[in-house]
Symmetry: C2
């Protein structure tokens, strides 16, 4: 086994973490134990938090501390948050008292808030220091040389943030200048309670490499660093994609299938419920269908294309909302645009399905009914694609939440109502 | 109007760009002209490239150069790439010869390759310089103080990259140390032809703040900076979400509706075509349906829930592929997992739809047929959700391409075949 671990040490921690993700938990735990503790700690930090927590659950509090003491407090807090409460307390007791106190303070923040994401290690100096003094201080305190130091924060006597100096500006500034001369006073800050969604939007919108986090008294308490901000932005994109089709939380490809069922089944159940609306509509028109069986073949065409059109509109809006390119107040303007698109696409698709109906079933009436229904359903799809995300946002829930399910339910139910309703009217008028 | 622009100057360029995105092109051009050229240039850089190009098309080559001369070459190249060839050449002629040459060189790379995304400005030093000499050099050459300088690159006589020193390490290192002592020799590089997908994966996987780009002779030619890498990663997420439902290219919420129709209609047409499969299956069973009309109401239930289950599996796999958490070789393992999930969800949903069928239509036989079809369709959905993205990947196209449309087409067609096929068998066996 010696050779094995020597071999493992030549692999980038991110790649090794990747391999561990794919191993069964027991085998992964064995690999973890064979690595030197400091390296094991790096791997744990690289793993997705839920996988890391799953592995740690197989060890005692004392064993866990053997790794955690190599990690900075905010990473320890992230891992502990994912552990069962009992195991978490064991670990907190086994940690050195000062580290334990810092971690306990961080655990007070929700993991997806700025307070939960921030790194509580940062470099703060007073405004009257010169560039030279500041550089000398940095060199004299190499323990401040944490990952990702990009900014020096300037604070006042009450620890309130008054400015920021980038390392770049520090390096290029004349040695005798004071921090107050070179600092940027226009600092964008996050508050500890800000949600990760806000962070993801800021990353996209402004180009920052680290956002300071202040508490309720405007004191600097931490920094959301760029690598964490990227992780958050990617997680937000994943979450939106998942929520749209009804996947709770962050499911990844190696999530055990039992957990996946628990995440997916509830929304499939909701989907079964919403689809009952469409089923009821169809059932209501059984009489029409039994007199005109050719209609049945067109039901899947109507529901597939209108559902897809609704999901196109939905996807554009969900993504624009997530990136902050559109605000809830833009709903009407978005609706107008989507209605134009629905009408435009509808005309072309109506002609297509009309020709298909005539060519296939030889009935002009069926062509007219199917074409008209297609046009109206494209417009309905546009309406649903706009109404669902803005409606969810208005209800103060995530606009992506099961949105694809709701859009499809609307296009199916209304689509069948329009199509079968028109067919019934046509039957009465032309007395077939 | 003076007051207006003074007011505009107090807004963060990213926010001002946001406002311009929402204005009609003429009004946006007017605002652009009223700003001082240097500020207009910053706004142009903040705008989405397609919007910026759209605005620039309304100006002459000479006017355009008035803004572009304030922008770094890689940003100029990005904008020029989006302009019509004729206007692009006008601008290249009007630019100062040296700037024009650099931009022309950058334009040789595809805009979504590492060469097209990289910034060609970086700081390179020789390995035998000391930290002190290096800092003195930096201070003496403030024109090197570009945005986002985070690393100093160490090159040999042939301009080949031999190591990297972060600004952080430079700041914390003793003044007399040589670059060769403190540099990191294990440098991950991109090649100019690498696709943006590779960049997005690297951002997620490794935590880097700037990736050096080398040419075919391994010479350092540029750096993909973190802000561009984030933009690329976000654009990749958007693209995947869009491609899944059949949206070509990057459509945003303020894309004019005529352009949106051009992007969406082709895939709705494909969808109409694929849905014809399902329609044909239904049509084939018209005889069964006319003898057992209660079946019709269950068609939408079958297609909605199986389609959604397929899309859940699809979404997890697309996102995992994009983030590099799963490789094409993992297809079988992913399939096994999804089949377990499909069977598990299938059993529960089969019971539910069976009870609905019995309670609603009072037929045990319908309950058994619908329940069995639901179970089989959940398994089919799992199969489709795995087969489509891995199949597309195997065909060397983007695994997200219209994948949701293909999955739904498969679940609809096969789902109706299973459901109506079972119903036909049941009718024969129990002779209703």
């Amino acid at each position: 086994m010696k050779d094995d671990t020597t071999h493992l040490q030549n692999i980038h921690p991110a790649d090794l973490a990747d391999r561990l993700e794919r191993l069964p938990s027991d085998a992964a735990r064995e690999v973890l134990q064979q690595l030197p503790p400091a390296e094991g700690a790096v791997i744990l930090a690289e793993l997705h938090t839920d996988k890391a927590a799953n592995l740690l659950e197989g060890f005692t509090g004392g064993q866990i501390v053997g790794w955690l003491r190599f990690l900075p407090p905010h990473m320890v807090a992230d891992l502990l948050f994912a552990l069962p409460v009992k195991r978490r307390e064991e670990v907190l007791t086994a940690l050195p008292p000062d580290q334990s106190a810092v971690v306990t303070a961080l655990l007070r923040h929700l993991p997806d808030s700025a307070g939960g994401i921030m790194d509580n290690r940062f470099i703060a100096v007073r405004a009257d220091k010169t560039v030279e003094e500041c550089l000398a201080d940095l060199r004299a305190n190499p323990e401040q040389r944490t990952d990702d130091v990009l900014y020096i924060y300037v604070t006042d006597d009450a620890e309130r943030l008054v400015g920021v100096v980038s390392l770049r500006d520090l390096v290029f500034a004349p040695a005798e200048r004071r921090m107050s001369d070179i600092m940027n006073r226009e600092v964008r800050v996050l508050h500890v309670t800000d949600d990760q969604e806000a962070i993801a939007r800021q990353v996209h919108h402004y180009h920052f490499l680290g956002l300071p986090v202040v508490d309720e008294r405007e004191r600097l308490v931490g920094v959301v660093k760029i690598r964490d901000a990227i992780r958050v932005a990617q997680a937000e994109a994943t979450e939106d994609m998942h929520l749209m089709v009804g996947l709770f939380g962050e499911e990844r490809i190696w999530t055990p299938w039992r957990h996946s069922i628990a995440k997916r089944l509830p929304w499939l159940g909701v989907n079964l419920g919403t689809a009952l609306g469409a089923a009821t509509v169809v059932s209501f028109f059984e009489g029409t269908i039994s007199r005109w069986t050719a209609l049945v073949a067109f039901l899947p065409l109507i529901c597939a294309v209108a559902g897809n059109a609704g999901n196109q509109a939905l996807t554009v809006i969900i993504r624009s909302l997530a990136l902050g390119e559109v605000a809830p107040g833009d709903a009407l303007r978005a609706l107008r645009k989507e209605l134009f698109i629905g009408a435009g696409n509808g005309v072309v698709l109506a002609l297509a399905i009309g020709l298909i109906a005539f060519g296939w079933k030889g009935s002009v009436l069926l062509g007219v009914v199917a074409g008209t229904a297609m046009l109206l359903n494209q417009i309905l799809g546009a309406l649903a694609g706009v109404a669902v995300p803005f409606g969810l946002k208005w209800c103060k829930v995530d606009p992506a939440l099961a949105s694809s399910i709701f859009v499809t339910a609307l296009t199916d139910t209304m689509g069948f109502l329009v199509f079968l309703g028109l067919a019934t009217v046509a039957l009465r008028m032309f007395g077939m």
